[in-house]
């Protein structure tokens, strides 16, 4: 296997270097560095959005989620993604119209402008920081665990994590957002190819889709229906997850940025459709891997399942591809998130552009170091931590949608309510307050309450004349 890891690893590293160098320009402007010149075409757009969205959470987390919770996991992610791409179409149109003719410097900066209140930007940045960093950390950790299983004893887990963070920093520093987008394209294709190769191998173990579910019916029948053996996938959990995932393009800055930097409205809209198709293609084989795990490794822990299904049971070349595919999946998402945090920080800074860029780069470095430390200390299920990340940032959804859509001068109350919602959610995560009230999940209560507050704020706002800056188009 080592031979194949070197072969695929060198090809992958070569492509990353190529992507970085192709994106490198001397004396580039900060707009080019942070926003890739806002000129991303359809193919790159789909692949970068997909690579940022489908991470180790999909590559490792979803097979494990199917293995433990059964087929309703499809609703948790695939149906939610299907609805999300429709919302992307709607929200993408509005945010692009909003930023038309103005320099987009991240969602935090935009939202501060919409509310004419810098607190809105700070609250948004706080939620992004709090919920993206642990998510980045656990993905780095996921890669480290996997590498440790592939090369036991060669490096400590933190050594792998440090290496991943270093690679991420180097190529984002050289090429900026454009390098990240190019490498995302490579990584998106790699992820799709590898997940299908392994998924197909797992499906072949059963001899087809029908025999697969027949066999699972004899092993653990609960896996074939909702809520699954753990009782987790209830309608309420799935509905709250839908709202959290729907809010991803609105509240996770790495996605909002990608919507804005697309070349044109038409490209953005076609990207939404293609992303929906990509989601179906990438999630489908995770069912096969999950069912394979349920058949052979139902009693095993997470790490043993990963090591067996992705490495030990596969031919050497496929196992090597799995390692490179996993690194690709993790890297593309983590660098997108870390870079987006840098971009949000830039939107909040004031002063000379050179000094802002220096501070932004320092910020990206600091966020990476914090994520590295999280990767050493965080222990959780990939999918559930990802869901917490989506829900945590999702709390900001009503505030952002109101700011972008409303043509009225609205009360800043929604900013304070969103901050309060964030604090309440954090208290429940820390176990200081319950996460269920009257049998309703707290995150669902927060989404509904803030949604209603946003509607009331709009209705009670005073109408104002919008002066749109002249555009070049």
């Amino acid at each position: 296997m080592i031979f194949w890891v070197w072969v695929f690893g060198l090809i992958y590293a070569g492509l990353l270097v190529f992507a970085s160098l192709r994106s490198y320009k001397k004396n580039r402007s900060s707009e080019e560095f942070m926003m890739a010149g806002s000129n991303i075409g359809l193919t790159l757009g789909v692949l970068t959005f997909a690579a940022a969205l489908f991470s180790t959470f999909t590559f490792l987390g979803m097979p494990d989620f199917f293995r433990i919770n059964g087929v309703a996991a499809w609703i948790f992610l695939a149906v939610s993604d299907g609805a999300m791409v429709f919302l992307l179409l709607w929200f993408g149109y509005h945010i692009r119209m909003k930023v038309k003719g103005m320099e987009f410097r991240g969602v935090a900066g935009l939202i501060s402008r919409c509310y004419e209140n810098r607190l809105a930007g700070y609250v948004f940045f706080l939620s992004s920081f709090l919920f993206l960093i642990p998510y980045v950390g656990i993905q780095i950790q996921g890669i480290a665990i996997f590498m440790d299983a592939a090369f036991p004893g060669s490096f400590p887990a933190w050594g792998w994590s440090a290496g991943i963070v270093l690679i991420m920093l180097i190529y984002s520093e050289i090429g900026g957002l454009k390098a990240i987008i190019f490498s995302d394209a490579i990584q998106g294709l790699l992820l799709l190819g590898v997940i299908w190769i392994i998924g197909w191998a797992c499906l072949s173990h059963f001899g087809g889709i029908g025999p697969m579910f027949d066999k699972i019916g004899t092993v653990q029948e609960d896996l074939l229906s909702s809520p699954g053996p753990q009782g987790l996938l209830t309608p309420q959990f799935l509905f709250a997850s839908l709202i959290a995932i729907l809010m991803i393009p609105v509240t996770q800055p790495q996605f909002t940025t990608r919507i804005v930097v697309m070349k044109s409205m038409k490209t953005m809209q076609l990207m939404a459709v293609s992303l929906g198709a990509f989601a179906i293609l990438v999630i489908l084989p995770t069912i096969f891997i999950g069912m394979y795990g349920a058949d052979l490794y139902s009693e095993y822990g997470r790490d043993e399942f990963f090591a067996n299904a992705f490495l030990y049971d596969q031919p050497d070349a496929v196992a090597a591809l799995a390692i490179i595919g996993l690194i690709a999946a993790g890297l593309s998402t983590t660098n997108a998130q870390i870079f987006a945090l840098g971009s949000e920080l830039r939107g909040l800074l004031r002063g000379n552009e050179n000094s802002i860029m220096t501070k932004t780069k320092i910020g990206i470095f600091v966020f990476s170091v914090i994520a590295f430390f999280f990767s050493i200390i965080v222990i959780d299920q990939l999918v559930l931590l990802a869901r917490v990340s989506f829900a945590g940032t999702g709390i900001m959804g009503p505030m952002i949608i109101l700011g972008i859509l409303s043509n009225r001068k609205v009360s800043p109350a929604i900013i304070y309510l969103s901050l309060t919602g964030l604090i309440i959610f954090l208290l429940s995560l820390g176990g200081w307050i319950p996460d269920m009230y009257f049998d309703i999940r707290l995150d669902l209560i927060l989404f509904i309450t803030l949604g209603i507050a946003a509607v009331i704020s709009h209705l009670t706002g005073t109408k104002r004349q919008l002066i749109r800056p002249k555009t070049k188009e």
Binding site: G82, S225, Q269, A279
Partner: protein
């Protein structure tokens, strides 16, 4: 333009209805895996169909979105 606006609204309503029925016993009857389709459990094949329909609706949405009319940007 008015027709496009109407079609876009129909798309939005259809997407909302599809999303909501996913969480009803119509798609996820608790503890029930039949009737199967080609050996695929009930909740999986119904929710798969819903996912495909949502993507198709998104495509139709790109064709009928009223804002596209005003866009001068090219592909």
């Amino acid at each position: 333009m008015e027709k496009k606006r109407l079609y876009w609204r129909i798309c939005c309503v259809a997407a909302i209805i599809l999303s909501i029925i996913t969480f009803t016993p119509l798609v996820i009857p608790q503890g029930v895996s039949k009737p199967e389709l080609g050996g695929v459990p009930y909740s999986l094949w119904t929710s798969f169909v819903i996912t495909v329909l949502l993507v198709i609706l998104t495509y139709i949405g790109t064709r009928v979105h009223p804002g596209m009319q005003n866009e001068e940007e090219d592909l």
